[in-house]
Amino acid sequence: MREELLAAAERALEQWIKARGEVPTSETSEGFRLLALHRQGARGVPSFNACRETCREIAYHYNLLESSKDERTQAMMQMLVRHLELFVRGKLEVNGLGEFCCSSRALRLESAPAKIPEGANHG
């Protein structure tokens, strides 16, 4: 189960990275590809660090489950992975990178609002 959950978390980050036009890394950080993917996904997007500790907690719970099959730990890891998936989904929508409903990239590009000129609001 812990392998499946870790893989699901990696898939969520892969979607974010692919939506930004990059190839998801196959490298690892501190023994986890998940942490390397997070680092890649947060490059240039500081707000993506809001899921940094969630990723670290997933790695921590993965390690915990190596020594014990405790149901509560497993349930917590499930919730952490779900949180990461929801967070990435929200980021995809807010950034117009998703390919679904009204936030899809194609529609966003068609109806993109005019850019505010540089310095227009500087008084």
Binding site: P46, S47, N49, A50, C51, R52, E53, T54, R56, E57, Y60, H61, R72, A75, M76, M79, L80, R82, H83, L86, F87, R89, G90, E93, V94, S103, I116, N121, H122, G123
Partner: protein
């Protein structure tokens, strides 16, 4: 100590304002509200023009430093705290921010804030450093013993790390990876902190209007995780997180049919109870979540 409540504490976070003041009074910590303060720039201004947000936050610090001659500004809202810290960082490291702030300050007719004139702290630092756990224990009137608490810090209290140079300095300092100041204070007040891995996870506050459904599901996940950890109550230290948890708890039940029963209370409300302040003075009745239900266990 200059006190910057920020806009939310006059609206949805009114109970946080009341309970912060009440706890300060009970602990003998004086607060002088920043005169004629303005919005810190929040998310709205920052998204359009970050330099205007830097200016707005700098004006608050300028009044504190140059008119009130304060050395420290305390901001209990994570958004305000974050923005003042960010402005401080920008003014120290970015010449164009300094130029913009100087220009607008001159137009507005007040002294330009210079980086380093004040230190911005959070309400957690205020109590942790101003009183500390041992003194807090000595002043307890109602122990929070028997109350299981999940401490929720939200995502802006520790991020991005570079704007909080005082954190991660070893024992005694706050950690950006595993914040613990709220845990420490509430444990000193007798509460039993539960192991809560989503303590800094996103509550969806930034896209609560643009994507309410995702926000509701993010909050629902936090609430479920707190319940799975055995918590009776989630302690909060940010008005945006707090109202988000409360409102989306209601929405999750209405829209998704998912009922959760964990309650939300500001950490200042919990400390106030421990210090013997009446729940009404702490604004517990203003919360959407019925905190009295769990407080009855200890009162």
């Amino acid at each position: 100590m200059a006190y910057y409540p920020g806009c939310a504490l006059e609206g949805t976070g009114h109970a946080y304002n009341e309970s912060t003041k009440a706890v300060g009074s009970a602990l003998g910590l004086k607060l002088d509200e920043v005169k004629d303060w303005n919005c810190c720039g929040a998310m709205e201004v920052k998204n359009i023009d970050p330099k205007v947000q830097t200016y707005l936050s700098s004006r608050v610090m300028s009044i504190a430093a140059n008119e009130m001659h304060a050395k420290v500004v305390m901001a209990p809202c994570n958004g305000c705290y974050h923005n003042l810290k960010k402005a401080e960082y920008d003014l120290e490291h970015d010449a164009s921010s300094r130029e913009t702030v100087a220009r607008i300050s001159e137009k507005a007719g007040h002294e330009t804030y210079q980086a380093g004139q004040v230190e911005t702290i959070h309400a957690l630092d205020w109590i942790k450093d101003g009183v500390g756990e041992e003194e807090l224990k000595r002043r307890l009137k109602n122990s929070l013993k028997g109350l299981k608490v999940a401490n929720y810090y939200g995502c802006m209290y520790t991020r991005p790390r570079h704007i909080f140079p005082e954190k991660d300095k070893g024992p005694g300092s706050e950690s950006t990876l595993q914040p613990h100041f709220m845990d420490d204070l509430l444990a000193a007040a007798g509460a039993q902190n539960v192991d809560f891995p989503l303590k800094t996870a996103c509550c969806g506050g930034a896209h609560t209007l643009s994507d309410s459904d995702t926000s509701t599901q993010l909050v629902l996940n936090i609430l479920r995780a707190a319940e799975a950890a055995g918590a009776d109550v989630i302690a909060t230290e940010c008005p945006t997180c707090h109202s988000g948890l409360e409102m989306h708890q209601v929405r999750a039940e209405k829209v998704l049919g998912e009922k959760t029963t964990v309650k939300m209370l500001y950490f200042t409300q919990l400390l106030g109870i421990a210090l013997g302040v009446a729940p009404r003075k702490l604004g517990v009745h203003e919360n959407v979540s019925d905190g009295m239900e769990v407080l009855k266990k200890i009162l």
